[in-house]
Subunit: 410 residues, 2 copies
């Protein structure tokens, strides 16, 4: 607690913090009236006017008189961030697809492309080359006046945040891959993309723009081939000491159980992941995306065997969630990926397991809901990650325009 | 991330934040030179001089010339908080003891008393009355000029932080007890004591003054009858949405296993708690403190059966820790209570389980150590909790002296 307040403040750092508060607020909300900014930041009207002047001069924000809506008094001035004033390219490496997006300040998605690819272990070099191509296409799709400030990427693996080193991505077949530096080289331009785990970024996106908006204690659990987690604790993403945190799929729920891809036995993922579901539903464990669609279609048509298989996955979902609810005392559990799609079929059994297994006090306040951003949550989270330096210190982006990121055209 | 920066800052709030930074730094370190304060807070020398003047005038701090130690230049001025300038009373409700302490600003323990009591379900009223007696004795032991500013308490149960409501404390036999309001009434004086879970407070104390000092990502696991946890995430205690977080003893590690005191089955506590150890060692499950001492004595003398029993507890400790290391990516695991005492006997098996079960990346950076504050960690953490309002906004304590807490003398 103390450490968070350790940094004293001088007047320049106060200006920076206040700019950050305003830009953060506008970025999260899309836009605000000046009065709303006064209310949400606690700053005086004149301080806000001055800071908005700086943002406007730098091309990051603009103001327009709002309609008066028949209420008496002056029409309030609406402030918006200019999406093109600062844009980021977001990339996403999933087990069976790659994606790129261009996202403007304020969260406007200006470009989006996802290409599916067959599962299986693809060489890192191929994926990096494909990502660089996607990034260049995204760059070309940009409006001429857009200012590219950063690149962010999500990876379905265990990622060190400082440099994008991927310690392990079993479902991509990666181990100890210096993904950050390889991607940087392929993109050219001499800058480092920001890289993090896909579930961590999915949680960030759902927290800022999705099902968990406005909720400060959130458990995001995303299931596909593996089971990942992203945690929001007191409004902040839990990254752990080096960014490896959130690997809820590797909680031991059955220590003498099945072998897990991580090398351990009985991890939650072995009971809750796609393979376990497919086997229970009588399909091949590695049936992949197509087999999953079969399961969902059969469930929708009321097939009893399939519904039983899904219910057993739901039971394991509830067992693990009970433990996580006891540890994190969250207000909201958001189910992403396949788990979000299974939610309608498993909601009841999950609630039953929570009733039975979670401590009554934390159980009482928690709700379980499906994610709202779908498969794009990690991609949108990668954009949010790329915006972090600008959001946390917009002042450093105002002085020297143009501070722009260039991609090599090779 | 954004939410943490949402509050804009006016000059008065800056002064408050800076005072908080200085007091927090001095409280954590015990004392500093002005130069150290410049380095650690980032404030200017003249700003620090002004703020220290305010603290000195209010009787919270004092300055003295340090010895010059033979180095050239002016001797640096040492700043210390005055322990008597603000003191708190800390209370601790453990399963087989009650304790009280008086702690001064800067962490000086001015008075300490612990009374053991037989285990078993004691009526809340009796415990509250005993605590109030302990608090009054502590009050009487205070130096005449000490200024009592708050009371904090640790409870071996699931505690709502806002009002000290104890939702559940199975080993005390409590369920839905408005402990906070009862304790407030017994203490008299019309103020609300700050109350939290004992393991959460143990973690806070170990982080601020014990084995986890200076480490920002910490898992504190405390085992006695039950198994509790306290988590420090990015330097801040993880409390969860209402303070119920950290209940790691109720992670499901064996869902078809033994019945747990919480009502679920196969919680970590059923394999790792005192009862499981005693049974494995061939002693009665409810042999209590005495039986535990027997186990430790036999282990020390090399008794094979006992060492095997302890090793099996160590194996379960490692299994659960592996999962928590995957989820939290901590730098340090601190073992408190009985687990700290078992550490010498189980260190090897714990490390083996971590090697086998934790993901290699987070496993590589984590160390497991015993707690350094022993049985008093929760008590000292209760003192830190009681100091929080003063530490987070010392300015509000400067204006109107004396703002002192009175206990009724009944």
């Amino acid at each position: 607690m103390i450490r968070s307040t350790l940094v004293g403040q001088r007047s320049e750092s106060v200006r920076r913090a206040n700019l950050s508060a305003i830009v953060g607020e506008l970025h999260a909300r899309g836009g605000s009236s000046r009065s709303e900014l006064v209310a949400s930041t606690g700053l005086t009207r004149s301080a806000i006017r001055g800071l908005l002047g700086e943002l406007t001069a730098a091309g990051l924000a603009s103001e327009a008189s709002g309609a008066s809506l028949g209420t008496p008094g002056r029409p309030s001035v609406r402030v918006r961030l200019n999406a093109r004033g600062a844009v980021v390219i977001a990339l996403d490496v999933e087990v069976d697809s790659l994606a790129a997006a261009v996202v403007g300040l304020g969260g406007t998605v200006l470009h989006h492309e996802r290409v599916t690819r067959p599962r299986g272990h693809l060489a890192v070099d191929e994926i990096v080359a494909d990502l660089a191509d996607l990034a260049r296409m995204a760059r070309q799709a940009l409006p001429h006046d857009a200012r590219l400030v950063a690149v962010g990427a999500a990876v379905a693996g265990v990622v060190r945040r400082s440099d994008g080193f991927v310690a392990m991505a079993p479902n991509l077949g990666w181990r100890d891959v210096p993904f950050g530096s390889r991607l940087a080289r392929a993109l050219g331009g001499g800058f480092a993309p920001a890289i993090a785990n896909e579930a961590d970024l999915g949680a960030l996106a759902e927290h800022r723009r999705g099902a968990a908006r406005g909720v400060d204690d959130v458990l995001f659990i995303s299931g596909e081939v593996g089971v990942g987690g992203g945690l929001i604790v007191a409004g902040r993403p839990l990254t752990g000491a080096v960014g490896y945190g959130g690997e809820v799929g590797h909680l031991p729920v059955n220590p003498d159980g099945a072998r897990c891809g991580c090398g351990s036995t009985g991890c939650w993922e072995t009971e809750l992941g796609e393979r376990a579901l497919l086997v229970r539903a009588g399909l091949p464990a590695d049936g992949g995306r197509e087999a999953v669609e079969t399961v969902l279609a059969r469930a929708a048509s009321g097939d009893a065997t399939t519904l039983d298989a899904i219910a057993e996955s739901g039971r394991w979902l509830g067992i693990g969630l009970a433990g996580l609810v006891n540890v994190f005392n969250p207000r909201l559990v958001v189910l992403g990926g396949l788990l979000g799609r299974l939610h309608p079929f498993v909601a009841r059994v999950v609630e039953e397991q929570l009733d039975r297994r979670a401590l009554p006090a934390p159980r009482e306040i928690v709700r379980v809901v499906p994610a709202s951003l779908g498969i794009d949550a990690p991609l949108l989270g990668a954009a949010e990650l790329a915006f972090e330096p600008l959001l946390s210190d917009p002042a450093s982006w105002l002085g020297h325009r143009p501070r722009e990121v260039q991609l090599s055209t090779a």
